[in-house]
Amino acid sequence: MYVAVKGGEKAIDAAHAWLAEERRGDTSVAELSVAQIREQLALAVNRVMAEGSLYDPDLAALAIKQARGDLIEAIFLIRAYRTTLPRLGASTPVETAQMAMCRRISATFKDLPGGQILGPTFDYTHRLLDFKLAAEGEVPTAPTAPASLDAVPHVTAMLNRDGLIQTEAEGNDTPPDLTREPMELPTTRPLRLQAITRGDEGFILSMAYSTQRGYGRTHAFVGELRIGTVAVEMDIPELGFSVEIGEVELTECETVNQFKGSKTEPPQFTRGYGLVFGQTERKAIAMSLVDRALRWKELGEDNTGAPAQDEEFVLMHADNIQATGFLEHIKLPHYVDFQAELELVRKLRREALAHGEAAE
């Protein structure tokens, strides 16, 4: 229960003034610019865009600066901002097969058309602190090699030629949008993917990890992981045709999973899918594992009671802004609630003590 109380304005103003001062830190150290955050903390920017569910690197960088590097606070700022924007429309589905890739690897095939492209990865680094970065220095230039700009087909498309992998149901239905209508259970796969792609990276990671450890095991291989830019195209009613309105960087992960077949389906591989804004590889892989685990009913698998198979558990707890809001509201004044509890405990104690005395 909340009761309107006055007071505290001066304290709040002083607290916010101090916050601004602390945000700036030691003024003898140069101030960070938004452009520096955008360019040099790009993976933090990507996470804020993915979970803020708004692709705009400058805004995400500003949010990170304002939030003093607290990424969930930054995501909160982005979510709040996006509610102020009019919705101009929806894009046609992006063509990830046409992606201009900076990274593309497959754990299932060594030699594949288009090859294995490592891209700017942390993989194979030694994870030793690099003290050269603490000193200003020259940046080495990345080597180049002759390249083709042709589109590279998906690995799953190659498997599909032999019928070895399940085909995704085609369709062009307008997908449900959880930012417009509250999520209702049971959900559909498009709605689940929207909820997971904007879900908390740590939560999705832990859910995916739980499936690997045996809680809803799905035996996933990374069939393909690709990172790169795709064009975003939208139908413009006044023109009568669609135009490109920009391009976004995406990470896409497709897993290939064991499936022994069912009464209606022959044994074949099945798929889990992850698609996330920005270079967000851990999240995209985790997303594809969680997506696959949630498909148990559709594929006629056993529900082992694993958390990752429970769509209510996964989808209702994946959003870090909802979680933060509910978690942190308990620090706000609950004076009247607590007064009632206090009265109750005092009364019960009086009764208990009186009862004890009477018994003696």
């Binding site: 101009l88 090699a145 998906h154 498309a157 307008t174 930012t179 993917l193 135009v243 490109e244």
Partner: protein, 149 residues
């Protein structure tokens, strides 16, 4: 292919280029704007970006992106539209003016003065990125196996 469809393809190409370009690049090639009336905007909004399940299946909502739109009419009546990525209103206004100019007798001059250099910049950036990626392509070689001895 008839003339109309060629025009549409060309128009789609320049509108896409204008949408993707950095606002500062466009401004550098276009410091002054011709006389024009703004019909709509510039207005900042969001577009829901969609993907497909498994890359090929049913559409789903991936998340929004910021987009600014603008429509203008030039003195000679040509109408231009723009939807550009980001929140830069001057970018959307310039893109709409270029779209209108490309429908006038100015088209060739605008193509040479503005669109061609923007296209070159974009092609070079894309090509540089692709060549850096190509340099990280793995060349596998098989080690000598024990039984080969």
């Amino acid at each position: 292919m008839n003339a109309l469809s060629i025009d549409t393809a060309a128009r789609k190409a320049w509108m896409g280029l204008l949408a993707r370009t950095q606002p500062a690049h466009l401004a550098a090639f276009m410091p002054d704007l011709p006389d024009h009336a703004v019909l709509r905007g510039p207005e900042v909004g969001a577009v829901m970006v969609r993907g497909r399940v498994g890359g090929t299946g049913q559409p789903f909502n991936l998340g929004e992106m910021t987009v600014t739109r603008c429509s203008v009419r030039l003195a000679d009546g040509a109408v231009g539209h723009a939807h550009v990525q980001g929140r830069d209103k001057a970018h959307a206004l310039r893109a709409a003016v270029v779209d209108a100019l490309m429908q006038t007798t100015e088209a060739e001059a605008v193509e040479n003065r503005i669109l061609a250099p923007l296209r070159t910049t974009e092609t070079q950036a894309r090509s540089l990125r692709a060549t850096k990626a190509a340099a990280t392509k793995v060349e596998f070689f098989t080690l000598v196996r024990g039984e080969d001895k």
